[in-house]
Every structure is written in C-alpha cells, then in structure tokens.
Symmetry: C2
C-alpha cells in the first residue's frame, strides 16, 4: 500500500520541531518514505488531499485503563475512598472478559476519533485488550496490572506468558511491559520477583508512583523514604520504567527519575479530578526527565481526550509557577507525541514524522472558526484545538479513520455492546 | 413560529435542577410554552427530533472581548507585560471598526457552534459588536471599555449614547452595561463619574477586578486596601455589578461581594494561561456569591469554548482544595448557565428551561463514544462533553444552528474577512 498525503502542513516534532507548509508525505508498506517533496515516480494507491489541514505525529496516551470506560460517569464528585471502594471496586469484581473486550473497543473508538495512535494500558483480562488492539489497528503497550495478594507465582507465570503470547504481535503494534500496580499494593518481596522476571524477559515496567499525598505519607511512615526512593533501592529503575502520576515529588525524587532515565506519565485531568494536586512538570523537564501525557481511565477523567490533557498541561503549570512561559505549546505537544513514544519504548519507530519511521500520523482539519486567523499552528494545537478536529488517523501505514469515518470498527456495534455490558454490571 | 422539540432528554437547570427523559419542549413566538408533555393541540411549524440528544439551557459566556479573536495564537507563552505592551496593544492601536466587526462575527460563529447563546462583552468600536449581534441572532450584554485617559466627559457621553442607542434593541437581545475597565486604569474621580452616569441611566457595571497579584499589591501600596474594598467604598457596588476575574481575594473581599450581590465572572482558562492563578471559587459560592463562567478574549485563552471552562472549573478547584467534592458537575454547569444569566441581569428571561422563559436552548448530540455508557448526563456534560457535541442552537426561539449547520451566518465569508483583517493588522 502506497499512500500520498499531498499539499498539506506538516508538524514533524522530534529533536528538531519543524512546521512545513505545502508539503507532501509518502508512505510505503507502513513506513514514511519522504516528507516535503514527494518523489516524482511515487505511484500512490491512495491520495489524501491535505489542503487546509495539518499532518502531525499521532498522539500517545501514556497511561490509561481503557476497559474502565464502562464506569464513565458512574461515580463522580465523591471522596476518593468511597469512590474507589464503594463504587468502582464492586463493579470491577463483577467484570468478566467480555466486558473488558467491549469496554476496550469503546475506548479505542474514542481514542482513534480523537487522534490517539498509541496507548499504554494496565488492567486485567488483558488478552481481551490485546484482541481489541489487534482487530482495530491501533498501537499499544500492554501490561497485566498485578498486586501482591493471591498466588504470586501464578501471577508471575501469567505475566511471562502474556509477554510470550503478545509482545511484538499484531505486526509489531503490541508491546508488553510488566505491570506491578504500585508500591502500596506490591510489597518489596513481590516487587523483587517482578523485577527478576522482567530482567529475565527484558521487559519494561509500567507502575503507579507517588500519586496521592497519602501514598507519600504512608511510605515515609512504613519505610522512612519516598515511594520513588523505595523502588529505586529495590532496583526497579534498572529496567526501562514508565511511572504513572509522580505528582508529589521531592527534589531527590526528581534527581533519581532523571538519573535512572525513568519516563513519567503525567495525567493532569485525573490528578485534578481526584484531588491529588499538581505535578512538578516543569521541574522534571528541567532536570531532563522524560515527561509524557496520559488520560488515566475514564472513571477518573472522564474521557480519553488527549487534546484536553495537552491544554491542561500548557495551562495549569503556568498558574502553578505564576509564569506564562511555563510549558509552552511546543513542549505540551511534544509531551503528547515524542515523549509519549519514548515512554512506551517505541520512539525509534514512531512519535515523529521522519523518513524511515512507521507512519503513525493524524490529520487535523483546520477549517474551523477556532483555527482562524492562522498565526501559529503549534500554539493553536495547545490552546485552541479540540479532539473533534482530528479528521484522519493512520497507524502503521493503515488508515483507521478517514474524513471522520472509522474504517476498522463498527461504531454502532461497539456502543450497543458496551452499553449492554455496562447494564449487566449495575443491575 | 411554533417549534416542537420531541422525544428528548431535558436538563432544566434553575433553582430545581431536573433531568427529564423522553420529554418534549414547545416554543411559541420565542417563549417556552411547555416542558414535559406537549399540549395535544400544539400545531408545530417546525419539529426537531431529540432522540438520543439532550436539550439544556444555552451557555452564557459571562466575560469576553470577542473582537480579540483577531489576535488568537498571535502571542503566546510570553511574560504578561511584553505580551500586552509589545504584542497585543500595538495591534489594538491599528484596529478600525471594520476589524472589530469581522472579529466579532468570527467569535459569534465560534460561540454559536459551541453552544453559547449569550455573552458579556467589553471592548471598543462597540457599535460593530452590536451590529454583529443584531445580524446573527445571538444575545449579548455589551459595554464600551473605558479608561480614564483622554476626554472623560466625551467618554461618559459616548457611553450614555451607546446605552440609548442599543439597550433593549434587536428584539431585546442586546442589553448595555457601563464598562469602566478596571480600578487601575480608572482613577477614583473617573470611576465616580461613571457611577453617577450609570445610576442616572440605571445601568449595570461590567469591570475587571483583582485579576493579578500585582494589581492587589499596587492597590495596597496606593490606597492601603484591596481593589474590591476600594470600588465598594466609591459606591460602585450599589449598582448591579459583573466583576470579571476576582482571582486574588481576601475573606473580607468575599464578604463584600456577597453582601453587595456582585456577580463574579470566573475565567479559569485565562487565569491559568496568563499565570494569574486560581480563583477562590468554592469559597465565593459558599458565601453566596453568584459565580458565573467566562472565556475572556481569544488572545488569552485561545478559544471561546465554554465546555472547556466548565471542565476546568470542575477539575481545578478539586485539586486546589484537595477535595474531590469541590465544584461538582451540577455546580459547574449551573455556573455556565443560570449563574451566567444572573450575572448579565437577564435571569428572569433566560438561563433555564422553564415555561414562560425565552427559548435559549441548545441540543447536545449524545451519540458519541464519550457519552457511553449513560449513567449520569450532568456528570458527562462537565467531564466528558466537548463543544463539538452541540448540534442545534436556539436563541429567542429562533434556530441559529440546526444539525451542525449555521442558519444566520455565512461561515466562509466570515472566515475570509476575518483573515483579511488579521493580515492587514500584522503587515
């Protein structure tokens, strides 16, 4: 399959952020062949007119639990513990694989429509999530979420098997990490088992770290140190790590994250909604930490709209620092694209529009009132754009949405079945 | 004209917030005649099918400068003073009435498309804004922004003439307030002249108050009191007042705002973007202050998307208070509807869906992935909805947008002319 996107604006992102006007992108067998002038002899099978549009790297949702879309708007404006223990957990106990499958599809549909081409997920019944990824054509880093309760050896065995079954599958669109849930749900001995398993398999780690004030206080009471220091002392950061949240950090924590090249998934929408506060995003970036953006699950957001997260990252940090230059537009967009790809360990393949990379590209329809006048397209992405401006989505060189129309999923079927599953959960 | 919206969900808002399923709304000569069951003998000229949709009161943007859409994404991520004095003000000096007209139309198009039915504006060349309001069918409270520099008597005379020319015009859709810009740009003697004029004409006041930390510090240096205390001592709050921003408030300030029944336009997007910080929204509401929501101008936001402001109000205050119950969904939606109508002094006419009120109604298309499953529609408005979900907009009983199609404005003509004006400003 040879695709030509012609006559368009292109935002390349990557080490050199370049905004090109009136450019073309050619794609062959899923790989970007040229950016700028198309080769004269390129015989396209498919031509996409990019006039008054912007092509940019697909967004990376670096932390979510996509099956939790089934709990969207089910429990809001409640204190954290009643929310979790009285509302969310009782529903989670009722989940069966079929629910996770349809909930995952509902979220994947929402993500494709809003320009997400890759996501990092941690949940259970993860075979269902992998199937949904395989069928829809999106890209994902998947982890079975593990706590220490129950049969630990079986959990380790299942995590290994999940890696063996799915890592590199779906034409390489699926990668697998180990998913120890958090240091408060995984004690040191279980965490050490996970670390040993991940080292043996050369897996990355996806973990929740330093999300709430209570977590920090409990960690100091129990161990006299922060969650970050604790897992670092256990050797967890010797593996490539994607640490979700990292809201409450000491200067020493930030030094550790930088030194150990940990990637952080900042989830501003979830952190605000659950009352957890404001992450030290600018401080982390200044120290060289790779900070990506994520939505968290739809029970704590309540959508998977990465344009909202870009906007929040660019706005909230300015107020927090009292400095209008904090997290400028380019940085916010970078967090949602290139930094996200790094966080998922797939930055050699995607995250920028560059020759030789896999074609994970989204096209934004600029013919909307909020994109006029046309002074600065990067600023407009961070401060004016909406998820609904995404009109075409390409992953791995395959068109998943074109001119707002989904190509690989039956939207009505997904909605019907997700509703059916949700109803069976609350009856 | 008799309109029937049938078979829909209705969120009434107002003192009693009611969510009705499978309901009808009838509208006759611009007035809501029934909500719930339609009268059996209602012969509709127009029928709108509301299946899988939600009818709710139109959103009220309680503080903006709509012609500033011409500066959207022109100057971002800059410190406040260079932003204002080196970028925005030099462009404002070049503005001619034609620019304000097309900039206003660009913003009105954006507002209609995103469900705004009323807005409060303060700027200059306000005849042009009034013309744009009259032509498009939207509702507005308009004020000429006044500073003390120049011929003060002429300014007072112009403000009076503007009131005489426009207040109650466009079938009553236009109301006029006096617009002294702020206590730092209007000294006490000029403010007193404005207060006298407004008292004589029975006008409300639209003013910027306590937006930045610097404003508070300067006010204490100069007068030994806060801006709020200062204007209250001058008697300004004896008139119905719409105070924009009110970010930095003492407990005494909040007491004054409550006692004097001042309405506050909270602009979270602008306050964050310009690094001004976090307003004490929950504290104000608890003391009985009427807090509405606004976008501010597109140079400091950079759009007029009230769904983003609803979302920000519901999210940011939770993190600020460390309390997930702060500003629940219903409150955030109330701020953007009923409280906004009160702030504009038009709550007897609009702001809720109730029999006898003018029909300012928007219809949300719920057939989007992010509205499933369907547990709580009010929560979904605050946490999941997007401006692009608005599919039909009715103001004063007249359809301004139906099934996403604008009925009173030529979108392409507006965009073309707004671009032309923007280009002539920066050349």
């Amino acid at each position: 399959m040879k695709i030509l996107i012609k006559n368009t604006s292109v935002l390349t992102m990557g080490e050199e952020v370049e905004l090109m006007g009136n450019a073309s992108i050619t794609i062959e067998n899923g790989i970007i062949k040229s950016v700028g002038l198309a080769p004269a002899d390129f015989e396209a099978d498919k031509i996409i007119d990019g006039a008054n549009k912007l092509a940019m790297p697909g967004l990376v949702n670096s932390h979510t639990h996509i099956a939790m879309s089934l709990f969207r708007n089910y429990a809001d404006d409640l204190p954290f513990w009643p929310w979790l223990t009285e509302r969310i957990m009782p529903l989670e106990e009722k989940l069966i694989p079929e629910h996770v499958y349809w909930g995952s599809l509902l979220s994947i549909v929402e993500m494709i429509k809003s320009g997400v081409t890759s996501f990092a997920d941690m949940y259970f019944f993860m075979d269902e999530v992998a199937k949904a990824v395989e069928e829809t054509g999106i890209r994902a880093s998947l982890s079975i979420g593990m706590s220490e309760s129950g049969d630990q050896d079986k959990k380790i065995k299942n995590a290994k098997a999940y890696f063996d079954n799915w890592h590199g599958k779906a034409d390489g669109r699926i990668t697998v990490m180990a998913g120890p849930h958090a240091p408060y749900s995984c004690g040191p001995s279980f965490l050490s088992k996970v670390i040993d398993m991940a080292s043996e398999k050369r897996m990355g780690i996806h973990i929740h770290l330093s999300e709430s004030k209570k977590e920090i206080e409990d960690s100091y009471s129990l161990r006299g140190k922060s969650p970050i220091k604790h897992v670092n002392d256990l050797g967890l950061f010797e593996l490539p790590t994607l640490a979700a949240h990292c809201v409450h950090l000491s200067d020493e924590d930030i030094e550790i994250l930088a030194e150990k090249k940990v990637s952080v998934a900042n989830n501003p929408g979830s952190n605000l909604k659950l009352g957890n506060g404001f992450a030290r995003v600018e401080d982390m970036l200044k120290k060289g930490v790779n900070v990506a953006l994520g939505t968290d699950g739809s029970a704590s957001n309540n959508n998977l709209n990465m344009f909202e997260e870009i906007n929040l990252a660019a706005l909230v940090n300015k107020a927090l620092k009292g400095d209008t230059t904090s997290i400028p537009a380019t940085t916010a967009v970078e967090m949602a694209t290139f930094n996200g790809a790094k966080a998922l360990g797939i930055d050699k393949e995607v995250g920028t529009i560059e020759v030789g990379k896999k074609a994970d590209i989204i096209i934004i329809d600029l013919n909307k009132p909020h994109f006029y006048p046309r002074y600065n397209l990067v600023a407009s992405l961070a401060y004016s754009a909406q998820a609904s401006d995404v009109e075409t989505v390409i992953v791995d060189g395959k068109v998943l949405m074109e001119n707002y129309e989904l190509k690989t999923v039956d939207l009505e079927k997904v909605i019907f079945n997700a509703e059916r599953c949700a109803k069976s959960l609350i009856k």
